[in-house]
């Protein structure tokens, strides 16, 4: 059943469309009508047929003109698309290059960031220690104090030595005086004793 209807369909199609579609059919019809017109007899019929043929010819020319224009348009569009295509290709390569450059820049920036962070980390540690100038100043003032104090100490020691020497002199003088006084007493005792002896001798 299917094949029969298929055959019917094909036959119908061929009957309707036997001359091809559209423009092709028009040209075939024109050809057939030209031949009919050449073979026709009467004047009026011939004239109307002639007019009809001119009309069909006009239509054919019109459709040919249209097709030519469409062809031109297609060519121009192709060119346009080629241009756009090359432009896009160039943009792509440019973008790739930019991406590569940006990647390099990113690496550079990351290195810089890493260096800065290392610097910061060390700076934090350094901050914890007191300032160098302050420590130096403290050291200087401590030095001065030390010198000052050591000078005072020297002075005091000198004074102490001097006083010791003075006391020594004083004590030795006192001792000498004591000795002299003792000696004097001894002599004066001895003198008195002698005098007493002489008096007792004289008294007898």
């Amino acid at each position: 059943m299917g094949s029969v209807t298929d055959d019917e369909v094909i036959r119908k199609r061929l009957l309707i469309d036997g001359d091809g579609a559209g423009d092709d059919r028009r040209i075939n019809v024109l050809l057939k009508s030209f031949i009919k017109w050449c073979n026709s007899g009467s004047q009026e019929d011939g004239y109307t047929q002639y007019q009809r043929m001119l009309g069909t010819l006009g239509q054919c020319e019109f459709s040919m003109g249209k097709t030519l224009l469409v062809y031109d348009m297609n060519l121009k569009e192709m060119e346009n698309y080629e241009e756009i295509y090359t432009e896009i290709g160039q943009n792509l390569t440019a973008a790739h290059e930019k991406i590569a450059e940006c990647k390099k820049e990113i690496l550079q920036a990351k290195r810089i960031r890493k260096n800065r962070q290392e610097y910061d980390a060390l700076a934090k540690v350094i901050q914890q220690h007191p300032d160098r100038h302050d420590t130096l100043k403290q050291l200087e003032s401590l030095d001065k104090e030390l010198q000052h104090l050591s000078q005072i100490k020297e002075n005091v020691e000198d004074k102490l030595e001097l006083r010791k020497k003075q006391f020594h002199v004083l004590l030795s003088t006192i001792q000498e005086l004591q000795q002299t006084l003792e000696n004097d007493e001894k002599f004066s005792d001895a003198d008195e004793h002698q005098e007493n002896q002489m008096e007792t001798e004289n008294g007898h």
Binding site: L107, K110, R111, R113, K114, Q117, E118, D120, A121, L122, K124, V125
Partner: protein, 297 residues
Amino acid sequence: MGPNEFDPQRSLQVLHMTVFSQSFSPCGKFLAAGNNYGEIGVFSLSAALGPEATEDSKMPIVTFKAHDGPVYSLLSTDSQLLSAGNGEVRAWNWAELVKKVSVGLGALGEVDNSLLMAGGDNKIHVMDLESGDFKMVLEGHSDYIHCLALRDSAGECLSGSEDGAVRIWDFRTGREVHSIEVFKYQECSRPQYGKYISCLTTDSDWMLCGGGPSLSLWHLRSVTPTTVYPVPGCQREACFHQDLVLSVGDGPFVSHCHLSGDVKARIPCTPPSLYSMRLNYSSQEHRVLSVAGSSQN
């Protein structure tokens, strides 16, 4: 065993699996991960990260048993993968050949063609990669060593250990330059977590260390702690990246912090506790950060 068959023992293993260490290949296209069963799995980054990745392409392309005990540390040199487990270090060519090397454990570091191995015997052994003999032994720690970091600019290496001290060693003289007892500094110490140092990394003049004491940034020239990061839990691995500090540890997240001390972001992850973190610098198209840890229960 086909991939679709259900293996109950394997599923139990997967449930209790913990990844301790990772390493990217020198070409940057593969990631090796070592787990607590002594296996090393190699994943292909291009397959797993590509646009047509499926569940299968995220499975390891190769898994092999490397050690009897857990693989605690992995390190990639120019052509080899070195893995350290309980008692031995093995070298595998990234083209999958096996070559047993020598004895050491714990943490691995590489500098100038020599391999540094540090671990349970409290010492760091420096071995020449070409000849295979030991050049130096650095002694001084009183407890086992958790982590190593290298400071190429000064020819030194740092080691952090269970005894709470970070020691800085000079390669040329083989002697200790400095010893920093992190837990003795008020601002870092967290006595409730202990004093061990489990993560250590250095960036020429600066050092990050953490573990029992909180994660802190130190200036090495003056040996002073400059910033303490308010990250909860013990950190197992930390690293410097551009202008950030990334760290992982207890807790299912990766912390991104600025050098100044504020936590910029805390990216959540599936494992409840992370042990290892690696950045893939050797590849341009697979620049990833990979973190690994214990399995979800």
